[in-house]
Amino acid sequence: MTRNKRTRITLPILLCLALIAAMSSGISRAHADDVPVVEITAKRFAFSPDKITLKKGQTVKLRLHSEDVTHGFFLRPLKLDEEIPAGHTAEVVVTPQTAGTFTTICDHFCGANHGNMNMTIVVE
């Protein structure tokens, strides 16, 4: 197999793997400012994904989308306090400065099981 052939075969595979990795982690790159974007969906009574990992000192944009009612996104240690309007998307840029494992909660009452609507943010 020639070098060109190997490149033609491996490059798409690598791209696919990178795409899959990005999709599974929920992290992609924003075009304009090249800040990694983390997609998070809120729907009664869970966030998806329910766990993300960020790097200490690295700026990311959290793109928060509600699929139903208004939700909140609150985490005091990371200074996160966002409203996600019903059926809409909110964005917030964060640069975690403290390593650890944190629980982010929906702090906008959204129904009977609201009290357990949360997700984990790990900062490494």
Binding site: D81, F109, G111, G115, N116
Partner: protein, 332 residues
């Protein structure tokens, strides 16, 4: 250092109330000197004579709740009403600290639940019953339906020399009081001297008890900055379905048990918040008694109250388990 007499304005004594909390408030009306002057001033401000009285706090009835943690619905709430009515001394006040009803998006159903709450609570033999909403009452509609049934969600009143403040930290859907209510609170308290006895009743804790379980008020520090400048403040709250005692500066915080089910001790707990499972042999377990008593001669810097928590089934119904508990007459 504060003078002890400033901290002893209230004698809060517990009694064996089956579900909930009974407070006996004995302002030191006979005190002389600075404290006596303070009560005289309050008497003039309030137009009321300062005198001993008792009141009851009940919380988190969740009328309409139907689920495994408590399949008995309003039984504990009804039991509490019976026990209040069996008290040897009729309480002057009953304070409900939120979650009177369980939430539903069906307005008609929620109205029915509020009516049912009122039907049960109106059987309480007390001249004054006051409420604040919980998030299950007011979180979905900004408190609109709650106000139709119970009136304003934040207000204040005076009773026998004690200033009571109802704070709403649920109607904005988020765990917060908000700038408007905070401004109202400052204005409301401005007329009182630093030594005034103040009881705040609200739903959520005003401090960070367990934020990841939403056991906090996001602008609670702002509220504490207002309350902290007064020497004799007691905060009564619900929401956490268990007893808890906390102190922030001069302010003492007390959580009441629920009338529907209990939550576990949050200390060291990980994972989702789950109610304590229902025990059919001890249906009122964890919906217990809290004895609150005055420390006698409090020392500067010490709490003016002491708390004894007693499980209902351990004392009131010793040796009587299961459904037999419902058959026993209240013995307070």
């Amino acid at each position: 250092m504060k003078h002890p007499s400033r901290r002893s304005f209230l004698k809060i004594a517990g009694t064996s109330l089956g579900v909930g909390v009974l407070y006996s408030a004995y302002p030191t009306a006979l005190a002389k000197g600075e404290t006596g002057d303070m009560f005289a001033s309050l008497g003039r401000a309030n137009g009321e004579r300062v005198a001993p009285f008792s009141f009851v706090q009940l919380s988190d009835a969740h009328v309409g709740f139907n689920g495994p943690p408590n399949p008995l619905g309003t039984k504990a709430f009804e039991r509490a009403v019976d026990m209040i009515n069996a008290l040897p001394q009729r309480p002057d006040l009953v304070l409900f600290t939120g979650d009177l009803t369980h939430d539903t998006e069906d307005r008609d159903v929620h109205s029915q639940r509020m009516k049912q709450f009122q039907e049960i609570s109106k059987k309480i033999n007390a001249p004054v019953i006051r409420h604040v909403p919980g998030e299950h009452d007011a979180g979905l509609d900004g408190g609109a339906l709650y106000r139709e049934f119970f009136g304003e969600s934040h207000y204040s009143f005076d009773h026998r020399g004690v200033h009571f403040v109802a704070l709403d930290n649920v109607s904005r859907a988020k765990p917060e009081v908000g700038t408007e209510q905070l401004a109202w609170l400052k204005k409301d308290l401005a007329r009182f001297p630093k030594t005034a006895p103040i009881v705040v009743f609200t739903h959520r804790p005003l401090f960070d008890l367990r934020p990841d379980w939403e056991w906090f008020t996001s602008d609670g520090d702002d509220v504490m900055n207002v309350l902290g400048s007064y020497d004799n403040v007691t905060v009564l709250y619900g929401h956490i379905h268990r007893d808890d005692v906390h102190e922030t500066g001069n302010v003492h915080h007390y959580a009441a048990r629920s009338l529907i089910f209990a939550f576990p001790d949050p200390t060291g707990a990980t994972g989702p918040r789950k109610p304590v499972p229902f025990d059919k042999d001890h249906p009122f377990k964890n919906l217990g008694i809290r004895n609150v008593s005055f420390n006698g001669t409090p020392k500067p810097g010490s709490a003016p109250l002491s708390i004894e928590d007693v499980e209902l089934t351990a004392r009131e119904f010793r040796g009587i388990n299961g459904v037999h508990q419902f058959l026993k007459e209240p013995n307070v």
